[in-house]
């Protein structure tokens, strides 16, 4: 149990290396088995996790370069726990639904490596380790988009890589400077994130460092106006690539905000709430409009991801338990829902080799099961209560309401505009008469596809009805994080905001 | 006093020798003056109490390296004057002159900082060669071994590179002919 996190991180990598010697015909079974074991390990982690303890659990510590404070330091708390589970779950589901034939072995091996980096990012408690996993995650994705993508794949892959890499480098500079500041303050260098959490920084340093981290995270999220790599990446990536990109990789950015920006720079975060919320609102409204204008199913969902990430950002910068816990929950729910939607688009793409909306119409008659699951996912995406999508969106917006009612109203446009583009997508694809003859004899979902999609649907509904098993650990960790922020805040405004950011009966 | 005289004497000699090396049109002259310059440099090493280094300078540089150059020149038709299309001399001398000027300026400004501490001070009890040996085989053991391996590698590389088709007269035949002959020989 002590080494469960290391096991979780390196098991897929070791399995991937061993995968080279596995026979071509058996590689898929092998990979699914590995992913399933990994998922079970993450479930064991969840079971063994103590929800009442808000701190880091299952920590592992091994000095790597003690002179520079770089250590092999892993740990998990309520904030990262479910992102880990999400990563392993989506990988498993993605493997089950995989339909790639060409060079399958290489794809599965790179996906297993990708799984290592994803889990690694979420459990790393050392900034250098975090950064290493963060950057390594680009490599398998670059390969996946660049090799298995469609026509513009090279452009998309390189854009994806360079753009995010550019942001990360600036973040790296921020990390180094932060370590230097830590050295100035304490006399020892440390890259350990919990150490950084305890570091009190003067306000102007906080702002600059916040901006450095912000750029790295914002490109990853991706926040407007750094989002343009995403539609290309999604549009060109193979299904599995889009699924993992949308479900997990984007969450690294928002996770970074919660793990780094808020607790390390509480004053800067609070001082910059308004501009960031402004960007988030632009993201929500503008990308929702762009999504509405798309002609390609996958692009609709790609832009919708950006729109939803805007709500996550709003929730994160609500600076109260409701908002932050909601935004973390929304990360998970968006991961599952957008993953499922990309998978669904992949299913139709496998059948028709096109994703253009104009090619479809009236599919509900031909593929009722497909239409049903798609409908459930659409509803989860627009945030219908009792589906997973509602809880996070509701809590995020509710949290931000305390900060600014008018901005919440604008951010809340997401629930209207989300319905607009999603229902348009659903209507043009599934409703209306069956006009295109090519669609007449499309087969409905087969067993493999159903297995993966029903698993996702079950999660969507289960966590929609009973989100508490997930919310409780998140809640405790977020509460302790906010306490920490309040304790170390240096400016008066920040302290007051954090202090007043709970429910209080305002009697007359 | 002797030291001053010796320094200026050898400085003048090395500068003249190296200037000849650089300016000469004839490769043989250049090499000869280079070898002479090397020996004069070893004089500075003796002046600086670096006896071991001075000896190494004479043996390795003036001996081994120059010998290699001499052998290399055998392969080439270097006795005749070297024909070169030189770039405009102004640029060359301007650049070098400026570098020299700047270096001198830099070096003449006070450089010696008092914070600098000797890491491995001379000990008076042992001679220079012994002192070098002690440091070399303690602190610099690994670099020393690496240098040894590097020399070995360089030696093998030099032999292999130079010895390809040693039996052929390279000055009289051009490459293609050799290739053709080799092809025939194989058949």
């Amino acid at each position: 149990m002590d080494y469960i996190l290391s096991l979780l991180v390196f098991f897929p990598a070791v399995a991937a290396v061993l995968g080279f010697i596995v026979d071509r015909d058996n590689i898929k079974v092998y990979a699914i088995t590995v992913a399933a074991i990994e998922f079970v390990i993450s479930l064991i982690l969840w079971m063994a996790y103590d929800p009442t303890n808000p701190g880091f659990q299952f920590t592992e510590y091994l000095p790597l370069v003690p002179a520079y404070g770089i250590n092999y330091y892993l740990g998990v708390d309520g904030i990262s726990l479910f992102l880990v589970v999400l990563s392993t779950f989506i990988t498993l589901i993605g493997f089950i639904s995989l339909t790639v034939e060409d060079n399958l072995k290489n794809m599965l091996i790179s996906l297993l490596f990708l799984e290592m980096t994803m889990v690694g990012v979420f459990v790393a408690l050392d900034a250098v380790l975090f950064y290493i996993f963060w950057e390594l995650s680009l490599v398998p994705m670059l390969y996946i988009i660049g090799y298995w993508g469609s026509e513009l794949r090279i452009y998309a892959a390189i854009k994806f890589f360079l753009y995010t890499f550019f942001g990360s480098l600036i973040m790296l500079v921020g990390m180094l400077f932060l370590a230097y500041l830590y050295y100035m303050a304490t006399g020892t260098i440390s890259f350990s994130i919990p150490d950084w959490h305890r570091l009190v920084l003067p306000f102007d340093y906080q702002v600059w460092l916040f901006l450095a981290f912000f750029l790295g995270m914002a490109i990853k999220v991706p926040m407007f106006p750094f989002h343009t790599w995403l539609p290309y990446a999604h549009g060109q990536a193979p299904t599995i690539g889009s699924v993992i990109l949308a479900a997990v990789l984007l969450k690294m950015g928002t996770y970074g905000f919660v793990r780094f920006s808020l607790p390390i720079f509480p004053d800067a975060s609070i001082a910059l709430i308004t501009p960031i919320a402004f960007l988030a609102i632009i993201m929500v409204i503008y990308t929702a409009m762009v999504a509405y204008a798309q002609e390609d199913m996958k692009q609709v969902i790609a832009y919708s991801s950006i729109s939803h990430m805007g709500v996550i950002i709003l929730g994160t910068f609500a600076m109260n338990v409701e908002g932050i816990a909601g935004s973390i929950f929304l990360m998970i729910s968006h991961g599952i829902v957008s993953g499922a939607l990309f998978m669904l688009v992949g299913n139709i793409y496998d059948r028709r080799h096109t994703k253009l909306l104009s090619e479809f119409g009236g599919l509900a008659k031909v593929m009722p099961k497909y239409a049903t699951i798609f409908g459930i996912m659409v509803m989860a995406s627009v945030g219908l209560p009792l589906t997973i999508g509602f809880v996070g969106e509701f809590l995020s917006l509710m949290g931000f309401y305390k900060i600014s009612p008018s901005m919440t109203f604008l951010g809340g446009m997401s629930i209207i505009l989300g319905a607009v583009y999603m229902l348009r997508l659903y209507k043009t694809t599934f409703f209306g008469p069956l006009t295109n003859e090519k669609n007449r004899n499309l087969p409905d979902l087969d067993g493999k596809e159903l297995t993966s999609l029903i698993a996702l649907t079950a999660v969507v509904i289960w966590l929609g009805i009973n989100p508490n098993p997930v919310l409780k650990p998140i809640n405790n960790s977020v509460e302790s994080m906010l306490e920490l922020m309040e304790k170390k805040a240096v400016t008066k405004e920040a302290r007051e905001l954090l202090h007043a950011n709970t429910v209080k009966l305002e009697a007359k | 006093m002797y030291e001053t005289i010796a320094f200026y004497l050898f400085a003048a000699l090395t500068i003249v020798m190296f200037t000849i090396t650089v300016m000469s049109r004839n490769a043989l002259y250049a090499m000869t003056s280079l070898a002479a310059g090397m020996i004069f440099i070893s004089a500075f090493f003796f002046l600086l109490d670096a006896d071991f280094l001075g000896v190494v300078q004479i043996i390795v540089y003036s001996g081994a390296v120059m010998a290699v150059y001499a052998f290399a020149m055998i392969f080439m038709d270097t006795l005749r004057d070297v024909k070169e299309k030189n770039p405009s001399k102004k640029i060359v001398f301007f650049l070098s002159g400026m570098v020299a000027l700047l270096l001198v300026i830099i070096l003449l400004t006070p450089l010696i900082s008092e914070k600098v501490q000797a890491l491995y001070p001379f000990s008076d009890e042992v001679g220079n060669a012994e002192a070098v040996g002690i440091v070399l085989f303690t602190k610099y053991l690994v670099p020393f071994e690496v240098a040894a391996i590097m020399l070995l590698v360089a030696m093998i590389a030099g032999i292999i590179l130079a010895s390809k088709r040693m039996d052929e007269s390279i000055t009289l035949k051009i490459d293609q002919e050799i290739e053709e002959e080799l092809q025939k020989g194989k058949r």
């Binding site: 360079l162 106006p225 343009t228 409009m289 762009v290 509405y292 204008a293 338990v321 409701e322 509900a364 008659k365 009722p368 049903t372 627009v382 219908l384 209560p385 509602f390 509701f394 809590l395 917006l397 509710m398 309401y401 009612p405 109203f409 809340g412 629930i415 209207i416 319905a419 607009v420 229902l423 348009r424 209507k427 599934f430 409703f431 209306g432 008469p433 009973n466 508490n468 919310l471 409780k472 809640n475 509460e479 709970t502 429910v503 209080k504 009966l505 305002e506 007359k508 | 770039p87 640029i91 650049l95 070098s96 400026m98 570098v99 700047l102 300026i105 830099i106 400004t109 006070p110 450089l111």
Partner: protein
């Protein structure tokens, strides 16, 4: 008693899931029967609850488990059966059960038979969650749930193509479904904001906590709560300006229109206002505003119904108009009256719609009332029941509508809002006119359908039987006024009339008079062959016929600009500006590399010269910035 609470709630869910299992299979009759039976069980247990609550004055509460627990927010799945919710439960389950039974016949030949019952039962479940929940979040679950089911059911015949607005004013079922969903979402945003306000001030969304603390707050905060909750109600109850979806929603199968878009879902807004009476009774100005809007809608919708030729749309506008009446009552603080009208309206409006369904069946889904006429001869029962419903709607003694609608007019007059009263009074006349215009055109007069080759027939007995209880209730429900008042005012505030007996009688007389004259005008005119064709050239006619051009206006004002803006946002902004900037920066870097490639000439001596130049620069820098001076 909790047991009955759960039975009432979950029986429809079980029915829905059961039907869903056969959703993709061909028609199975037993699916409809099972679903109806489960609804019957639900109805019975709702009645038991009603009796229990009424007899013991005890409020039944149950908590299933916690839904969302974060920070200081705690939302349980909690349900409550108090007088208001039991009335709603009984109304909902009763109408739903009858509509279920009716649908077995109505959907007989539809291939989506099983799917239909699955959706319909799911709707009932959501509606019950809405009315039974003991907190605002639970209400919102039901709120969105009924929205989803409404979307599914309006778009039930999704395979129909989009037509232009001239051919089909609702364009297509799928379009109408989306319109309904999106319009409701706009209102839901308002409602969500209302919930946020409540939460951040009170710290809970439980009704009892909220209502017991609400008077502690500043009036401006309560006003905000009231406004935003009402925005939510406006969407669901299709109040102006969010009303256009309701008429378009008539694209759904007729039982759906009867259940969702007349009897139950659209009254959810009224229910919300009634339920939140502790909030609204603190802010009479907002109440007055609500009442004004209601009165306006009552007249506005009735005026559109005057000229429409579409059987179902007329009834839909009538629903809209009646919802306006309910909001007047609720806005003026007569909550029990609003609830009472809600209930009676559910009975006679559902009846009216089901009758219209019979007519449509008979006429092969033809909806134009000018293609009908004289159907009384073949459909005596249907005609009789629709006349009963219309009389109830028009508010003629002793039908149910008389008691409830008159009460609303009385309230308006009694609270000295004479303009409101006058509007409602005019509305009552219009209601009577269009109801009987419909009756006359459909059932009496010339048998125009023969021209178009229809062969109408009476509906099967069980469909009529399903309608019969509704017809009965449309007649007698009014007589329960006092017991109803007594029952619900244990929770709701009472409304005290100050009027003297004589004014009251005069008012009743006036109202009855205008209703009767409306009926008389309709009967007289349409038995003579109706108004002349010249009326159609009249601009007012055109305005009314085109729904005040509001759908077109929304199209031009919101839908089209949004579409165009989206295109601009994507093609001009995103691709040309944002992405192009990124590519431009990348391009600069690339071009720099391309240009400076010349440096790599491969000529060693040139490179050496560059190297020395670099060295020179470094030396200059050392001289200039030497750290050791």
């Amino acid at each position: 008693m909790e047991k009955y609470l759960y039975i009432t709630l979950f029986a429809p869910l079980v029915g829905s899931l059961f039907a869903a299992m056969f959703g993709m299979k061909p028609k199975k009759l037993f699916v409809g029967i099972v679903a109806s039976l489960l609804l019957f069980i639900s109805f019975i247990s709702a009645v038991i609850l009603l009796v229990h609550v009424a007899s013991t004055d005890e409020v039944v509460k149950a908590q299933l488990f916690d839904w969302i627990t974060v920070g200081s927010l705690n939302i349980p799945f909690g349900f409550v059966a108090d007088p208001v919710s039991t009335v709603m439960m009984v109304t909902v389950t009763l109408v739903s059960m009858l509509v279920h039974i009716y649908s077995i016949g109505y959907m007989e030949h539809d291939e989506g038979f099983n799917r239909f019952f699955s959706y319909l039962s799911a709707f009932v479940f959501s509606m019950l969650v809405l009315v039974m929940s003991d907190n605002f979040a639970g209400l919102f679950i039901g709120w969105e749930g009924v929205g989803l089911c409404s979307w599914l059911l309006i778009g039930f015949w999704y395979h129909k193509p989009d037509l232009s607005r001239d051919q089909n004013p609702s364009i297509s079922p799928a379009w109408a479904a989306n319109e309904a969903f999106i319009m409701n979402r706009i209102a839901d945003l308002g409602m969500l904001i209302g919930l946020f306000i409540i939460y951040w001030h009170i710290g809970s969304l439980q009704y009892d906590v909220v209502f017991s603390h609400v008077n502690l707050f500043d009036i401006s905060i309560i006003t905000m709560m009231g406004i935003f909750l009402f925005i939510g109600a406006m969407g669901k109850s299709a109040q102006f300006p969010l009303h256009t979806w309701l008429a378009d929603a008539m694209e759904g199968p007729t039982p759906v229109s009867a259940l969702i878009h007349a009897a139950t879902m659209v009254t959810a807004g009224v229910y919300l206002v009634v339920r939140s009476f502790p909030i609204y009774s603190q802010i009479p100005e907002i109440g007055l505003w609500i009442a004004t809007l209601g009165a306006f809608v009552a007249v506005f919708a009735a005026s559109m119904a005057l000229v429409n030729t579409d059987l179902k749309r007329i009834i839909a506008y009538s629903t809209l108009s009646q919802l306006g009446y309910m909001f007047v009552a609720a806005g003026l603080g007569a909550y029990w009256v609003a609830l009472f009208h809600l209930m009676t309206h559910a009975f006679f409006k559902a009846l009216l719609f089901l009758g219209a369904g019979n007519v449509m069946h008979a006429m092969d889904d033809e909806l134009n009332i000018f293609k009908m006429g004289g159907l009384y001869k073949v459909m005596k029962w249907t005609a009789a029941m629709m006349i009963i419903a219309s009389l109830a709607l028009a508010g003629i003694y002793p039908f149910a509508g008389f008691f409830s609608k008159d009460k609303i007019l009385e309230v308006a007059f009694d609270s000295h809002h004479y303009i409101l009263w006058f509007m409602l009074w005019v509305g009552a006349g219009m209601t009577a006119f269009y109801s009987f215009r419909l009756i006359m055109l459909v059932f009496f007069g010339e048998e125009r359908y023969k021209k178009y080759g229809f062969h109408p027939h009476e509906a099967p007995w069980y469909m009529l039987a399903a309608m019969a209880p509704l017809a009965l209730l449309a007649i007698v429900a009014g007589f329960f006024e006092h017991s109803f008042e007594e029952f619900v005012t244990t929770l709701l505030p009472e409304y005290h009339f100050h009027m003297e007996g004589i004014t009251k009688v005069a008012l009743i007389g006036l109202t009855t008079l205008i209703a009767l004259s409306g009926i008389g005008l309709a009967v007289y005119k349409y038995s003579k062959g109706g108004f002349s064709e010249k009326w159609k050239e009249n601009p007012i006619y055109k305005l009314l016929y085109n729904q005040y051009y509001i759908p077109q206006l929304y199209d031009k004002l919101f839908a089209q600009p949004y579409r165009e803006l989206s295109q601009i946002a994507w093609k001009e902004l995103d691709l040309r500006l944002v992405d192009a900037t990124v590519d431009f920066i990348a391009g600069i870097i690339y071009a720099t590399g391309f240009k400076s490639r010349v440096v790599q000439s491969g000529n060693l001596s040139k490179m050496l010269r560059w190297m020395v130049i670099g060295l020179l620069i470094l030396l200059v820098l050392v001289v200039l910035y030497s750290p050791v001076r």
